[in-house]
């Protein structure tokens, strides 16, 4: 096996880890109230769209990253400008993931400083990235079974003990809230799949086995729908909308007579998936910077990009009030525009270019060069 190639199954696992790590503990679509589960389903269509577009692009341009594809189909200046916007988005997502992870860890370890946690997490991830994509995917192949073994009881135990199904009715009482919730979840976590476009060129069996990636994606969607149902039926809509980590609150409510602090048992699951989400965004950022500036190696960027990811959460979100202002009112609209438009523009340009190259009457200098 080559050092920097992975297969579709490994990519699918990484994809599932990303979406679980991004938003499993949160309920970004909670604004939809009782119909949160419907908003989750609607939002998953955005994720499916982004995933399909990046896979189609990769099949047209095998082995090329989305940034290189954009410069090829849109020309260097426009491709570079869009590449900068895309790299900024990856950076912003990485900063958000690290902030979320640190905030959650500080609940469990309140005595630690956020600078120390940021540094510790980033340096650990830098070590994994130094070892190459293949090590990362093999690590995720091992960890996914631990995660699934914890996710299933994390959903099943509260569902059969403290959930009240009647809190889901009446269904579709506020369709506008469902659409807004769908938009929020379309950005976080589904739209964030766009950052996986940087890892797709490393998939060596994409043409034959891309279906496997969709299967892992749908496993993620099912888990998210169940999570939304659980959060609504246990916390009811008011509490679900006001708590920061709804699934954590759900698990706090589980009580066995001799077995206390059950939520800490599931802390392993959150640590692993959050860690993987930060890792994947960090890895994508390094690869995006490499392709954006046409560098020979990405390894020289690992530590500098890591420092940026570690410092900027403290600057961008100095308090949870600032974080809420950004995340609730600005980030969704900022991110979703880039997440949906960036791959769409590139795919449209690629299709136009493909059609032109099939046209025998095309005399553009570029086409004639290709013909020669």
């Amino acid at each position: 096996m080559q050092e920097n190639t992975i297969n579709s199954r490994q990519f699918g696992i990484l994809l599932l880890m990303l979406i679980l790590g991004s938003a499993f503990i949160f309920v970004p679509e909670g604004i939809a109230g009782r119909d949160t589960w419907l908003a989750t389903i609607i939002a998953s269509l955005a994720g499916l769209y982004v995933l399909s577009v990046i896979i189609i692009l990769q099949k047209i341009f095998p082995g090329m990253s989305i940034i290189k594809i954009s410069t090829q189909v849109l020309g260097k200046p426009l491709g570079f400008i869009l590449g900068i916007i895309y790299t900024w988005l990856i950076f912003f997502i990485a900063v958000l993931y690290l902030y979320n992870m640190t905030t959650f860890l500080l609940i469990i370890f309140p005595g630690l400083s956020d600078s120390l946690l940021n540094t510790f997490i980033v340096l650990t991830i830098a070590y994994v990235i130094y070892n190459g994509l293949n090590s990362l995917s093999r690590l995720s192949e091992i960890l996914i079974w631990i995660v699934l073994a914890l996710v299933i009881p994390a959903i099943a135990i509260p569902f059969f003990t403290i959930a009240e199904i009647k809190s889901l009715t009446p269904v579709l009482s506020n369709i506008k809230a469902v659409l807004v919730g769908g938009l929020f979840a379309a950005n976080w976590p589904y739209g964030e799949i766009i950052l996986m476009a940087m890892l797709l060129p490393a998939v060596n069996d994409l043409k034959q086995k891309s279906k496997i990636i969709y299967i892992w994606f749908f496993i993620g969607v099912i888990l998210f729908v169940l999570r939304s149902i659980l959060a609504t039926t246990v916390l009811w809509e008011d509490l679900m909308q006001t708590t920061k980590f709804p699934l954590y609150e759900v698990l706090l409510l589980i009580r066995f007579s001799t077995f206390q602090r059950v939520e800490l048992f599931f802390f392993i699951m959150w640590s692993i998936t959050n860690f993987m989400a930060v890792l994947l965004s960090y890895q994508s950022l390094v690869l995006a910077l490499k392709d954006l500036f046409s560098l020979r190696s990405h390894k020289t960027l690992i530590i500098p990009a890591g420092l940026a990811i570690a410092v900027f959460p403290l600057i961008m979100f100095p308090s949870s009030v600032e974080f809420l202002a950004v995340e609730s009112f600005a980030a969704h609209f900022h991110n979703i525009i880039i997440q949906l438009l960036y791959p769409t523009i590139i795919l449209a340009a690629a299709k136009i270019k493909q059609r032109k190259s099939r046209n025998p009457l095309d005399y553009s200098p570029e086409m004639s060069k290709t013909a020669k």
């Binding site: 540094t119 020979r296 190696s297 600057i315």
Partner: protein
Amino acid sequence: MFWFSILFMLIFVILEIKHIWQEKMIKELAVSLFLLLISFAYALELYLNTHFLPNPNRILFFIKPIGDIFMKIMGMK
């Protein structure tokens, strides 16, 4: 974060400078230095508790009016 950023810089020097020098990777060095220096500047700002540099999340607020219009249309607060 200031002292941690110095730690990051030391790690970069130990791991990468020799390799960059041998391979003459000027572009790689330029991009790395840009990232290190900008992060260091922000870390220094945090350490000194000053607010000279702009907060990058202000970029997001350019989009905020679109979000506000959307939320108004949807009748949400």
